[in-house]
């Protein structure tokens, strides 16, 4: 983590050029320049990603892995080149360890269904946390209902951090898998995944990490983390929607049964039964999202070109400024830890409901999210009904933080708050 490089942040990332890379940032919303602060939900796309998708469709498109003609070869090469680029970006040992899926949600469902279905039975325990996104909770609830496996949840402290003592206690039971988010989508907390993985392995359990909120913002090295599964979405990291990945170790993927059946994933099909293709194709039934993968490959190339450390340093710089300005607003409360966090700020402001805040800010061109952020159990745990969430990314600026603060002042005036 480059948390101590604030001073040079501005020098390392040419923010004017970065912003020029994102065509959508030139548009207005309700007559105001767009201030896009809903990046934890989905990021915007640089021109290189949009161009890569268009170029793929204009020049190379065909179905992949059929190989009977030139376009099919080109499409397959582009698809597999993207797999190689993304796999290497996240420290995978081999491209074959990266399964392309629709997004983190599908990756997590794949693990729950294919691995969980084969490895979990009555009384087996899956340890999750109280801060999981619904996508790393509901698939396990469905699995538990099918198999009789039991779920337990690591407690979250009032500061929004995982209670590791509680985790150690939970691991005393017969735990087969630990599932944890790398970064909380509601609070921005960066969880100590290396330690969580180590403790899981000591207890004989595998460990699944949901990296949807981490991959866009920091260097992720799955081998250094030591986890067994790592899930992420492309659209939160400058890539297209409908593409994401599941990384796992080769021997685990080899042992898992398929997730869905169909074309692509078979070796031989007979009426009485079939055999499966090797990984990763075994988990990629049907025609894949080739254009999405190509776009994701371009997104990874774009982020690497800027430098992940430079992006981290810039985001840290803007986020610390945002935190300082938000803390100055009387009656505003930011949830989550003060340090060890990303630029995701969930907050409440006096008695103004988050949904009303979002409407007022939207009229000023400022996009935030309001609600429970697919984090309902966490919000219940923290005792809040709904929060407003401003989440930052590499193209956001201190000036946009100022716009948010001004927008909040207007909300205070509309709601006749005594300020």
């Amino acid at each position: 983590m480059a948390r101590s490089r604030l001073v040079s942040a501005e020098a390392e990332l040419d923010i004017g050029r970065v912003r020029a890379d994102f065509p959508i940032l030139e548009r207005t919303v309700h007559g105001q320049p767009l201030v896009y602060l809903d990046n934890a939900a989905s990021s915007q796309k640089p021109a290189v990603v949009i161009d890569a998708v268009r170029d793929y469709y204009q020049t190379h498109h065909s179905n992949v892995h059929r190989g009977a003609h030139a376009l099919s070869v080109e499409a397959t090469d582009a698809y597999e080149a993207a797999r190689g680029a993304v796999a290497s970006h996240m420290g995978a040992g081999s491209p074959s360890e990266l399964v392309f899926v629709r997004g983190a949600t599908e990756a997590l469902n794949l693990v729950a269904t294919a691995w969980g279905g084969a490895n979990l039975g009555p009384g087996d325990r899956v340890v999750l946390t109280k801060m999981e996104h619904h996508s790393n909770l509901v698939p396990w609830q469905l699995l538990a209902a099918r198999t009789g496996a039991e779920l337990s949840f690591i407690d979250v402290t009032p500061d929004g951090e995982l209670d590791l003592d509680d985790y150690r206690r939970l691991l005393r039971h017969r735990t087969k898998l630990v599932g944890v988010t790398h970064v909380s989508n509601g609070l921005g907390t960066i969880n100590p995944v290396e330690e969580i993985v180590r403790l899981a392995h000591d207890a004989g359990a595998l460990c699944l990490v949901d990296g949807a909120q981490a991959m866009p913002h920091m260097t992720v090295d799955v081998q250094a983390i030591g986890c067994d599964f790592y899930a992420f979405s492309g659209h939160k990291m400058c890539g297209p929607t409908g593409i994401g990945g599941l990384w796992s170790r080769r021997e685990i993927l080899d042992d898992m049964p398929p997730y869905q059946g169909g074309g692509e994933m078979i070796s031989e099909v007979r009426l009485e039964g079939s055999t499966w293709a090797d990984v990763p194709q075994k988990f990629e039934a049907g025609t894949p999202n080739v254009a999405g993968a190509v776009g994701l490959g371009a997104a990874v190339g774009y982020l690497q070109g800027l430098g992940i450390e430079a992006i981290e340093a810039w985001e840290d710089y803007v986020s610390q400024y945002a935190r300082r300005r938000l803390d100055e607003v009387v009656g505003l409360r930011v949830y989550g830890p003060r340090t060890g966090r990303t630029g995701v700020f969930s907050f409440t402001y006096a008695d103004i409901h988050a949904h009303d805040l979002a409407t007022i800010l939207d009229q000023q061109g400022i996009a935030i999210r309001a609600g429970h952020h697919c984090n309902q159990p966490l919000m219940d745990h923290l005792g809040v009904d709904a929060t407003a969430r401003a989440s930052f990314y590499l193209y956001n600026t201190p000036a946009e933080v100022d716009a948010l603060i001004e927008g909040l002042q207007i909300a205070a005036s509309i709601f006749r708050l005594d300020t």
């Binding site: 409901h353 009229q363 600026t397 207007i410 509309i414 006749r416």
Partner: protein, 159 residues
């Protein structure tokens, strides 16, 4: 790229008047001092609906006697629009027949969909303050949540 979007935005930004129309004094008053926000023990009708997208939850309880609403209350949590709508709805429903309540629901719904005549209809009382919601399509469901409760409760009766 233009200077404005790179360096922020013009300092002198006007707030759309539609926002002030949306969050009128009377709406904030019902939000902060809701009327009839109480559980009614002897209710004859009771239902809770939620909006999973934003987390709003509204419960509506009725005491119906001889096809007339003898008492009405609400509960729940949510934004100013959903809470004010529920508060004003209960105020307006008190003592109405079920047929009148159904008529009120359709007038209110028409108003939210931008019908200028409905927005002038005196039978809606304070509820007319919610006419501004029609300019904010994503907020219409907030204003309608408590009315959907009412609809579910009395539809079988009036059908």
């Amino acid at each position: 790229m233009d200077e404005t979007s790179q360096n922020g935005r013009p300092i002198d930004r006007s707030v759309p008047s539609s926002l002030y129309q949306l969050f009128q004094e009377v709406i904030l008053d019902h939000y902060r001092r809701p009327r009839n926000k109480s559980p009614i023990e002897d209710a004859t009708h009771r239902i809770t609906l939620n909006n999973p997208l934003c987390g709003d939850v509204v419960e509506v309880v009725l005491v119906v006697e001889n096809d007339r609403i003898a008492n009405v209350g609400f509960g729940g949590k949510g934004c100013s629009i959903s809470m004010a709508s529920a508060s004003m709805m209960t105020h307006q429903l008190m003592g109405k027949t079920l047929a009148e309540a159904t008529e009120l629901t359709s007038r209110f719904t028409e108003m939210l969909h931008g019908d200028p005549d409905a927005a002038e209809d005196e039978t809606l009382g304070d509820l007319r303050a919610l006419a501004g919601v029609s300019k904010f399509p994503v907020r219409i469901k907030c204003a309608l949540l408590c009315w959907n409760c009412l609809d579910e409760l009395i539809e079988p009766e009036s059908a």
